[in-house]
Symmetry: C2
Amino acid sequence: MNGLPGPEDKNPASRCVLLSGGVGGARMAEGLQRALAPGRLSVLVNTGDDFELLGLRVCPDLDTVLYTLADRANPDQGWGLRDETWECMQALAELGAPSWFRLGDRDLATHLVRTEALKRGRSLTGVMADLARALGLETRILPMCDEAVRTRVRTREGLLDFQDYFVRRGQRDRVLEVEFAGIRQAQATREVQEALAQADLVVLAPSNPFVSIAPILQVPGLRRSLEESAARTIAVSPIVGGRALKGPAAAMLESLGHELSALGVARLYSGVVDEFVLDLEDERLAPAVASLGMRPRVLPTVMSGPPERLALARALIRP
Amino acid sequence: MNGLPGPEDKNPASRCVLLSGGVGGARMAEGLQRALAPGRLSVLVNTGDDFELLGLRVCPDLDTVLYTLADRANPDQGWGLRDETWECMQALAELGAPSWFRLGDRDLATHLVRTEALKRGRSLTGVMADLARALGLETRILPMCDEAVRTRVRTREGLLDFQDYFVRRGQRDRVLEVEFAGIRQAQATREVQEALAQADLVVLAPSNPFVSIAPILQVPGLRRSLEESAARTIAVSPIVGGRALKGPAAAMLESLGHELSALGVARLYSGVVDEFVLDLEDERLAPAVASLGMRPRVLPTVMSGPPERLALARALIRP
C-alpha cells in the first residue's frame, strides 16, 4: 500500500468538469483524464485569449488543452506541438508578415481547419468536438462560450489586447484592470450547461484567476449553472509560497490590489467553491481559508510530471 | 560569334508583356526576364484557375510565375517551392481535411499573406506587387483582373471547377466546353492597360490556349488594349509535333473540335497576333500559318533548361 489509490478507485460514475486556462489547466486536465473513466471529463476552457492572426482564429488555451490531452504537446514549453517545424513561419517572416506569435507548421493545420469550419457556420464548440474526435479523445473540450469574447488589459500604455500584452510585449506592463469585451452578449452553451448539471465534481484549475478563470465564470448563465449543480466544487491555488508557478498571476494579484498569496486567491473564490487546495508549502494558511467558509485541503500541487499530475487528480476526486 | 546575341543586344528601351498560364508560361517569363533590362517585363497571368482551399485564396498560375521568376520554384515539377516541406499538409490529413491539393509549408505563407491582405481590401494586383517586391523582383506580375473569375469545364460528369478537373480528377475527363464564370463582371486593371500601352512586344506564352490564354484575352477591355497597342505581337505554339509539352492542351484541341497541331493553335490566334512561332519540328506548317495572315517563325521552342529559355526569349525579342 503506497497510499495512492489503485485502479479500483476509479469511480466510473463520477463526472468531472474542469475550468481551465492554458498550460497549468491542461496539465491538471491530463491528470484528471487518466484518473477518471474514459469520457467522464469535460474541460471548460477560457476563450478570452483567442485572437485573429493572418485571418486565422487562434485559440491558445483550447489548443493547449487539446494537444496536452492528445499527448501531442511540446513537453518543454507546455504549449504547441511536439516535434514542431517552423517553415511557414520563416517564409512568413521573409514576406514581411507579423511573426511575434509563432505558428508551427503542424499547429497551423488546427487553425486552418477551425477557421474554415467557423466560416462555414459551425460553432466553436462543434469545431473543438471535431478536432478532439480526430485526435482520438474521449474527454470533451468545451469552449466557455461560442461567441467571441476578447480579454483586454488596461495598462499605462492604454488598453491592450491580451496577446499583445501577453506575447508581443512579454507581460512587461503592469495590469491595472481586466475586461472581457463581448462577454455580455455571450451565453453558456447547452454543452457547458449539461456538463455542469451532470458533474459530481467541478474543479477550478490552478490557472490565472483574473484572465483564465474569471472570464469563464462571467459567461452569462454559467455561474448559475455552477451554483445549481449538485457537484462538489474545488479550486486549486495557482499561487504557491507567494509565487505563481507560471505566468503573470502573482504580478496581477499585486497590481490589482490583492494579497500576493494563496489566501489572496482563496478570497477571490470565496462563495464559488466548497473546497480550496493549498500546496504543502502554504499549510499555515489553512485556518484563514477555513474562515472564508471553504474547506481547506493541503496537497502537493506542483505538477512537475505525469505521476504528480495523476496523484493530484486522484486526491481531488477523493472527497 | 555563336549566333546568340550578346548583352549588347539588350535594348533597355524595349518593354515586353507576356500573357501566361502556369509552368510553361513561367519558364518563358524567366527567359524573358533575363533577356530584357530589369523592370521591362510585365507578365499578365491567368487567374481563372484560382480557388479557395481551407479559406485560403490559392492562385496557382500567379504563384508559379512568382516562384519561377524569384528562382524559388521546384525545378523538377516546375510549380511549388524548392526544398518544400509538408508538415502542415500531413497534420491536415490527420484532422480529416481535404488533401487532394497539396499545400507546402512555405507555400502556405504566400496564401496566408494574400488571403489576409485581400480581406483587408487590398486588390489582388496590389497583393502580387507586395509579394514580388518581398521576393526582390523587378518584373511585374499582373493578375489578368482583380475580380474573381473561375474557369469551369463541362464534361460528361457535368460542370467541374477547374482544379477539380485538373488536380482532383487528374484531367481524366473529356472537356466539352470551357467557361469563365464571372468574366463579364471583370475588367482590365489600370496596370494591365498601362503595361499593354507601353509595350513594344507582346508575347502569348506556349500555355494552354483554352484555359490559360483565352481567359486573359476575354477580360473585358483587355483585348481592346492589346489591339490599340503599337506592340509587335507574337504567339508561341504550345503544340509541338502534335503533342502538348505539358497538360491537357492537346486533348482539349481534339475534344473541342480543332486540328491537333500547331496549326490548330495558329487558327485560334489568327487576328490576335502578328507572328506565330512554330517549333523546328513543325516547320512544314509555316506556309499554312502564313496563309492565316501571320508571319510564321520557326525556332527551337522546347525550353528544356535555362539556356534554351534565354535563347528563345532573345529570338522573340529580335524582330
